[in-house]
Amino acid sequence: CLVQIPLEKGKRARVVLEEQGLWEEYRQKYPYNPMAKFDGSFA
């Protein structure tokens, strides 16, 4: 009754975008707004 799910540490989306030269464009288009996850008034 103990279930363990191994987690992989994958490449961050940021790193992928940086490698493609798209990070600056992405962050301007989709600025990170961490509070929006918890409070819709911040979305």
Binding site: L2, V3, I5, L7, K9, K11, Y26, N33, P34, F38
Partner: protein
């Protein structure tokens, strides 16, 4: 339209594999203690975000039942829409009959390695009163204890794990500190203060923090985050706080004082390298007064979510 918002965090990196349906269809998901629903892309979605990921095909599952109720989750920069469905979720070797939302469109997910999000927060946060998978596991007697724990390996690519129904003593050292939750919606706790070199540098009068595996950084109110980063000697640039990578060895520890206990982060934990060999601190600002203790914190501290008693356990990872 649902009340729940979700992340668009481009720095999330830990994911696990689950299966949905019969025969099983595999998905990489982020285990997120900051939300309660299970989302995966489906064949009904043809956006670039979905096309980059595995898609659930309900026609290929004999156990799928469609609820059909449309749902939408808003996040910082857009929304993810879908329909509610029911199917069997396979976690490693255990089956948990549960719900999944089988249509999605979220541009920020295009470049994420994970296909979907596996919410682990309280049922009251779940859209349409859908029972979260973990609660289904508990209700079905599939695990003994009403808790799960998360270990995020700092250095290695492998070794990280989510454990349902117990704790893994191989993943921590010393004793577990138990902290009562201040609100049972997320894993929300009271932080007494944040200090460095014995002096308070933020959260001087106490503050509320959500412990969230679905957030990569430590996030806090603008003024507090400005204070910490100024104290660390970081310079602000486009909303990020830049430090010299070669100075990590000389940078001070930052300590979170919680329920009379100290949880210390060395610079090697809160600084990480980004593009062009520059480094940023893992302390980011947000609106409002709430803090979020994300992966930067959780890589240092094994976390145990004791849902039955509304307690959080932390131990040195």
């Amino acid at each position: 339209v649902g009340p729940e918002s979700m992340t668009n965090d481009a720095c999330l990196s830990y994911y696990g594999v689950i299966s949905i349906g019969t025969p099983p269809q595999s998905f990489k998901v982020i285990f997120d203690t900051g939300s309660s629903n299970l989302w995966v892309p489906s064949i009904y979605c043809n956006s670039a975000a979905c096309n980059n990921h595995a898609k659930f095909d309900p026609r290929g599952s004999s156990t799928y039942r469609q609820n059909g109720r449309p749902l939408s989750i808003t996040y910082g920069t857009g929304s993810m829409t879908g329909i509610l469905g029911y199917d069997t979720v396979t976690l490693f070797s255990i089956l948990a009959s549960s719900f999944c939302l089988s249509q999605t469109e979220a541009p920020f997910m295009q470049n994420m390695q994970a296909d979907g999000i596996f919410g682990l927060a309280y049922p009251s946060l779940s859209l349409s009163s859908a029972t979260p998978v973990f609660d289904n596991m508990m209700n079905g007697g599939l695990i003994n204890l009403n808790l799960f724990s998360v270990y995020l390996s700092s250095n290695n690519q492998r070794g990280s794990a989510v454990t349902f129904g117990g704790v893994d003593t191989n993943h921590y050292s010393g004793s577990i500190t138990w902290i009562p939750l201040s609100k049972e919606l997320y894993c929300q706790i009271t932080v007494d203060s944040v200090s460095g070199n014995g002096q308070a540098v933020a959260c001087n009068d106490g503050c509320q923090a959500i412990v969230d595996t679905g957030t990569s950084m430590i996030v806090g109110p603008q003024s507090d985050i400005d204070n910490i980063n100024a104290w660390l000697g970081a310079s602000s640039q486009n909303g990020e706080y830049i430090v010299n990578c070669s100075n990590i060895g000389q940078m001070p520890d930052v300590t979170f004082n919680i329920n009379g206990n100290q949880f210390t982060l060395p610079a090697s934990a809160y600084v990480y390298q980004v593009q062009y060999s520059s480094c940023i601190t893992g302390f980011g600002a947000t609106g409002g007064n709430m803090w979020t203790l994300g992966d930067v914190f959780l890589k240092q501290y094994y976390s145990i979510y004791k849902r039955g008693q509304n307690m959080l356990g932390l131990a040195k990872a």
